[in-house]
Assembly symmetry: C2
Homo-oligomer: 402 residues x 2
């Protein structure tokens, strides 16, 4: 009988289980599957040549290479933080490099914020549904989840603080939310900050998809609005998490957190204890490439993803049977499908892969309490418009037969 | 008055403070300081050209580049894990790629093992002194430290389990320990495993410096010995943490953990929740470079560091006043100096930087309880032999005047 290791593990480890998304990503290796599962950028859009040139420049200069390959400070490569401070200023957020920590993608910022704030049983407000990766990051610190009122709600959060102390923070993805694709309007953003002030919460603003807007007007970030209320970033109660994963490439693992200095200083200590620092070379290369091309490159990827979103919305209108509804996102990578309540997304997925050779993510995993099963998350970022049409047609046939 | 954020933080965050090493690393920017502080490889020894060539090869091939820049699996790039399984077999550890997780340096493996195992108040056995970064990683999970008997001790750990439940694991760096430079002989390794069996502990084996042996015979790793006792790696109670930081370069942030599959499977979930995966490109490049040159490159860096260790040992013999003792390490980067008990390493450092323009790490930070103050850690990895002679001569003058 194999050895049982569980007595060596902390209680938190018992909550960790393999995720559907993780298992699903393995399906992507099968070439005949049309996958709407992963929230994955299209590698055909990666700026490969500028990246290769930047790596060659940095490594071709012995002095720069010595710095690029050596241990460095936990807060991150200073010229990148300086560039990001300017970039954030362009988004309406006045900050300094000392308000910025470089992280391994925004996922690591979410983990660090869980580590900083959550003790066992502490309340955390999340939307229902919300980003699965945020739930996974926070779960390690054993929070008690409460539901953040949706943008359609008028009430100040009625049940907050029930059955425990005051919640620690609200986690919000204001633009093109993963998984629903929905965006908070100005009134909803103000309501989040009102709630945060009323309950004395921090707000974690996950801006992963912010630059992928295809229609409509950009709204100010929660961090910008919080700075306007507080007068200065060091007094503002929002921690903004950004990433180059959706705009440049994911696999250099470069994201950033922007917040009041006392919060960043704690996060720097957490970064040091967790993995010392993000790869110096990757930070130097990302700095060069972002400075060179982030705006024109964002234009290019927006054009490509806009066409795919439009293709998916057209295909859904054409092929979905009555009783099925879906969101019309202004950006991002996702459309959220609501099925008749008697249908179960996870069971449908088994049939979808086997019979229709399509994949998506069942909605259940995006609810902290896994209470809702009649949803699907569709990603339109990876397939071309013709493939999207074909895949949604297959989904329609499957649903008509379900 | 600035806002007080501490009520938003978990109790664990209160334990986090800035480290001496971190503050000291900033001194390295002053060119006239002779620094024996950081445990930092010499960038002149970095295989810059092979790395540049590997980046160019991977990014020059559109298909490989698409994979290198895309999201990938949390356990790590499979060809690198396959190569590491062979590499570990060469070290006497029979394992498969499924026994291996790629981490951001071995620091991240230590953090993940803390996350997996330590609940508040759980016992953790560490040597006194031990690696400061391990203490920082574990501190986030609020352990209760107990002292692991040193290699000179015969007694089975007498106090283990005092004042709490059974300890969760023992953390051991068997080769050229940071900070002392000492190495466990075969009998001491057996004693660690006897203790682990008696107390039903996991053992974390930190092998960061393993390849930097300058004299003497290599001993089997704790993992190898545990596999011999248990019959199979999936039954062995040792988690081995390796890294390329000391042998190739630190700043690609590539390390690995090797353990029983049920432990690796949990660590993979922790990796996913923490930062999804290590940079794919860096893993692909490290695979190419390690396969190409790790053995000849290790020969080269061993020759360089051996000469520096010898220079430091000669200089210490020449310049230290009576009453000062030090270790004679067979490898690694560190010599541990014991001062007369009335001297305080931290106070000495202030004078060393100001008056002698030399830097080292005061020993206090390497004790979980900070109880011993009359030690210094000297690193010989960064300075050339003539500079080492000059710096140790200055240290000797300072100590004679202290």
């Amino acid at each position: 009988m194999p050895r049982d290791w569980s007595r060596h593990f902390a209680p938190r480890a018992a909550r960790m289980g393999a995720s559907e998304i993780r298992e699903l990503l393995k399906l992507l290796d099968q070439p005949d599957i049309i996958s709407f599962a992963g929230g994955i950028p299209d590698p055909a859009l990666f700026p490969r040549e500028p990246l290769a040139a930047a790596f060659a420049r940095v490594l071709g200069d012995p002095a720069r290479a010595a710095a690029a390959l050596q241990y460095s400070v936990s807060e991150g490569y200073r010229p990148l933080r300086e560039w990001l401070a300017n970039y954030m200023a362009g988004l309406g957020v006045a900050c300094t490099p000392d308000n910025i920590l470089i992280t391994n993608g925004s996922q690591q910022a979410l983990d660090f914020l869980g580590k900083l704030c959550i003790g066992p049983g502490d309340g955390v407000l999340v939307a229902a549904p919300t980003y699965l990766g945020a739930l996974q990051a926070f779960n390690c610190y054993e929070p008690r989840y409460e539901t953040l009122p949706g943008p359609e709600s008028n009430r100040l959060h009625a049940g907050a603080g029930e059955g425990g102390g005051a919640p620690k923070f609200a986690y919000v993805m204001p633009e093109f939310q993963n998984p629903t694709g929905t965006t908070l309007d100005r009134r909803a953003r103000a309501a989040v900050l009102d709630l945060a002030e009323a309950l004395d919460l921090l707000v974690i603003e996950d801006a992963a998809y912010e630059k992928l807007r295809y229609d409509g007007e950009r709204e100010p970030s929660l961090l910008q609005l919080a700075i306007e209320r507080a007068g200065h970033i060091d007094e503002a109660r929002v921690v903004y998490c950004g990433t180059f994963s959706k705009t440049i490439v994911p696999a250099l693992r470069i994201g950033w957190a922007v917040a009041a200095r006392p919060i960043i200083q704690k996060l720097v200590l957490i970064k040091q204890a967790s993995d010392l620092h993000s790869a110096t070379l990757n930070q130097m290369v990302m700095h060069e490439v972002a400075a060179e091309l982030i705006e024109p490159h964002a234009l290019e990827i927006r054009a490509a993803y806009r066409a795919r979103r439009d293709a998916m919305l057209r295909a859904l209108a054409r092929h979905m049977p009555p009783g099925v509804d879906w969101t019309r996102p202004e950006g991002g990578m996702f459309i959220w499908v609501t099925l008749p309540v008697h249908l179960d997304g996870a069971r449908l997925l088994e049939r979808a892969v086997r019979e229709a050779r399509i994949a998506f993510v069942p909605g259940e995993a995006f609810f902290a309490d896994r209470s809702r099963r009649n949803h699907l998350r569709l990603s339109f970022s990876l397939a071309d418009p013709a493939t999207i049409e074909e895949g949604i047609e297959r989904l329609g046939r499957l649903l008509r037969a379900a």
